[in-house]
């Protein structure tokens, strides 16, 4: 295991007009771990994802990927390096079938270089590779599901499709913006093994989540944000026990019952 963190976020600050969305947030991400980012609404979780992946320009701060600075690079270049993301408000190509949704990212330079997920370094026929990736993430191969229009798929499948789109690039890091939200209990239950499998395949995952129970089951470490500032960082157990975190989320001490569910 590498000594250097795969991602280093240093003193990131972002203001939108008069609003301070992120205030000198710093943290490191170790290669191969699952880092959860939690926090009450408005704490800046999605903003930090946008800043890391280049969709939003930071007001100040630096970000390093494998030691190289990626601050201020355009979004597509950052994705090209292997730092990919999903969208909280999902953005599939609705008018296309599911597998065609994957054909598009397979046109990217990175896909060409790496051959996509399980490509083994060379890109084959895009349609076939697309179907392969869909199978990986749980679309039954012999069914009609991969061929359905994205607009006809339920949320659970669409969330997986978002992940698949990242996999098409053979990513090193996937920033998952609320992949568990909008899913039913059973859908989440089937999502968790997928996440674990991705980790076993060597991908580093950073997961923004509201669903604490499920997140705490998979995450190695958790970062807590509040009002744009890093409140706490540690293992799930440490986070659950931390007084500041409880106060930030619930504002009171009657928190024991909720937290013990995990």
């Amino acid at each position: 295991m590498n000594e250097m963190p795969i991602l280093q976020v240093q003193e990131v600050t972002k203001t939108f007009g008069g609003i301070l969305a992120l205030n000198r947030v710093s943290f490191d991400v170790r290669e191969g771990e699952i880092l959860g980012i939690i926090g009450p609404n408005g704490s800046g979780k999605t903003t930090i994802v946008n800043c890391i992946t280049g969709f939003v320009k930071m007001s100040s701060g630096k970000i390093f990927f494998r030691g190289k600075e990626i601050t201020g690079k355009p979004a597509h270049k950052i994705a090209d390096l292997g730092v990919t993301r999903t969208f909280q408000i999902m953005r599939p190509y609705y008018s296309l079938p599911a597998y065609k949704n994957l054909v598009i990212p397979l046109f990217s330079p990175r896909a060409k270089r790496t051959g996509g997920w399980r490509g083994g370094g060379k890109l084959g026929d895009r349609n076939t590779v697309g179907i392969d990736i869909l199978e990986e993430i749980g679309f039954e191969r012999d069914s009609f599901v991969p061929y359905k229009m994205a607009s006809a798929l339920p949320t659970g499948y669409l969330k997986r499709l978002e992940l698949a789109r990242c996999l098409a690039l053979r990513p090193e890091i996937v920033l998952c913006d609320e992949v568990f939200s909008g899913l039913s209990m059973s859908e989440i239950a089937s999502m968790v093994p997928l996440i674990e499998r991705l980790q076993m395949d060597g991908i580093t995952l950073i997961m923004i989540e509201h669903r604490l129970r499920e997140l705490f089951r998979v995450a190695d470490r958790v970062l807590v944000l509040n009002f744009g500032e890093k409140l706490f960082e540690g293992t799930p157990e440490e986070v659950m026990a931390n007084e500041k975190v409880k106060k930030a989320y619930f504002g009171s001490e009657e928190v024991e019952e909720v937290m013990t569910y995990a």
Binding site: T46, N50, F55, V56, K57, F87
Partner: protein
């Protein structure tokens, strides 16, 4: 000194031309490509009122401005409201309206050099040793007045504040009970009236020609882009920047290059800082 004076005059003129466009775009997010056409129409209406109906200058001007406002509102109500939100259709529709008006005017007999509006007050004075038309001085005064009035209006009246609210966030404004369609209608009407005012103030300096419609459109857009689409004060500042740049070019290079300056300004802005000087659309590259 000469440069300073004429530069200021030119800048205020540009600001007048651009404010109408900036107003409409800032509030309704519809780029009104018919802006130039409205400008020219106002000039022709004034001319017709003065010469065909024999109404006095001041009164003609007033009526023309009002009519122009109504025309703007009509354009919005009948056409633009249907295509609002569909970016491609908005652009094509307003462009088509502008073209129809301008080319229709060109054919309808309004061609050539024979149409002019008289100066407000003929004659010139000497300002710091530089001769300048009184009309141009009035221009600066009126222009400055309009800018000041606009600022006051948008900061202190209900409708003005509603305008600003809509310009910042339409959904939020809707939630506060501001009728966005009606506001957009008013904005188009106001924008047209400002364009009309600009026409009446600026046209006496030259002839009323249809070409002016296109020129005004280009200049207005240039100013708005440099200032930042959606920022009125940015437009004023940009007007000064471009205005002085143009005068400098005229002095040192020759008067043909004015349009080139406008074009270069746009390209430069888009390369360097696409959201313009004060663009509210800073989220231009940043939307998620």
């Amino acid at each position: 000194m000469e440069i300073l004076i004429y530069g200021t005059v030119n800048s205020i003129a540009l600001a007048l031309m651009a404010l109408g466009f900036a107003l409409v775009y800032g509030i309704s997010r519809v780029p009104n490509f018919a802006h130039g056409a409205i400008y020219v129409v106002a000039g022709f209406i004034t001319w017709s009122l003065i010469n065909t109906l024999g109404i006095g200058y001041a009164l003609s001007a007033l009526i023309a401005i009002l009519i122009t406002g109504v025309i703007g509102a009509l354009i919005y109500r009948s056409m633009l409201i249907r295509v609002r939100g569909m970016a491609i259709s908005e652009i094509i529709a307003s462009y088509a309206i502008g073209l129809a008006i301008l080319e229709g005017l060109r054919w309808g007999g309004f061609k050539g050099m024979t149409y002019t509006l008289p100066l407000f007050i003929p004659g010139s004075v000497s300002l710091g040793g530089v001769p300048i038309d009184i009309h141009r001085l009035l221009l600066v005064g009126i222009g400055g007045g309009v800018i000041a009035l606009l600022w006051l209006f948008t900061h202190y009246t209900r409708i003005g504040l509603a305008f600003r609210g809509m310009a910042q966030d339409e959904r939020a404004a809707l939630m506060l009970g501001i009728d966005s369609d009606f506001m957009a209608l008013l904005a188009t009407a106001f924008g047209s009236m400002i364009a009309g005012l600009a026409a009446i103030v600026l046209l006496p300096l030259g002839n009323i020609v249809v070409e002016a419609g296109y020129n005004v459109l280009i200049l207005a857009i240039a100013v708005c882009i440099v200032g930042g689409l959606g920022s009125w004060m940015g437009a004023v500042l940009a007007a000064f920047l471009i205005g002085f740049a143009q005068i400098l070019t005229v002095v040192y290079l020759g008067s043909h290059y004015q349009m080139v300056v406008a074009l270069l300004a746009i390209i430069f802005t888009l390369i360097m800082r696409p959201s313009g000087l004060f663009g509210r659309q800073k989220e231009l590259e940043e939307r998620v």
